[in-house]
Amino acid sequence: MNPYKEPIRKVEEALKAVHGREEGINAGAAWVNNVMREIRRTGVQPSSKYSDLEGYGQLVWRFTAATCLLALALTVYAMTSDLSTASEVTRLFFDDPLAVDMVHSLGVI
């Protein structure tokens, strides 16, 4: 058993209580005027990173399952069909021996 488990729990609880304590601040009329001055200076923008990119991360993650399934399906297809590099090269050779010879001499296959 970890002898520090209980002391750590106690400190965690105390820090949580410290964090939860309400703090006040005296942001009065001067602060409000400053913010309004800044706002008048900047103006409204038709779009922003907060509106356009909101949920962008989630959108990307939403497609991960579909991408994984597609990759899996392609792998299964490649394994079950007689698709292989060797058979493809052989087929190409019989179809067009001259082209294969040229490609081979260029070091592509």
Binding site: Y4, P7, I8, K10, V11, E12, A14, L15, K16, A17, V18, H19, G20, R21, E22, E23, I25, A27, W31, V32, N34, V35, M36, E38, I39, R40, T42, G43, V44, Q45, P46, S47, S48, Y50, S51, D52, L53, E54, G55, Y56, G57, Q58, W61
Partner: protein
Amino acid sequence: MVSELDDEEIIKRVLSGDVNVFEVLLQRYRPLVFGIVLKHVPHDSAEEVAQDVFVRAYQSLYGYAAKSSFPRWLATLAVRSCYDFWRNHARNRELPLSSLTEEHQRWLDEVLAPQSREAFLEHTARQEGKEVLGYALDRLSAEDRMVLSLVHLDGLSVKEAAKMLGWSIVKTKVRAHRARREMRKIILELIGEGMRLR
């Protein structure tokens, strides 16, 4: 009276060019924004970060589109502003982290000693507690700091925290777990340091 208009009505008026009406939203939601900001950034930076929240809210009003309630949307902006504050802070930090003093160690010792609920609450009100918490959080990255504060200190659900930070739920869950483990390591170091001093 303009101050009696609901949020949607005010936003429509601001977007049609009546900038001054935004002050009603500013006054209405100032406590909400300061309530969030004061929990996540140092006291002396709170006004600046809160100003940033309202300026961003104003600039992004077209994107708001009333998909969620205005205060909820504003709270999200407030959390993201705090997160940005810590990211900038980490980038610009040049000074090494300060270490804890004997007063802070005494505070930790008293937390660990058996005590009544009243004594515990009185204890957590002391400035040393805030400084110990600040010290521990300062040793975390901006990401870990924010997720730990939202999930473990504020008590938000992973889903809520994810939405506020704009992260996926999986990332938030993993980060929250990792941040808590880091925090426990830091606490263990603090406890161990106190024992060495005795």
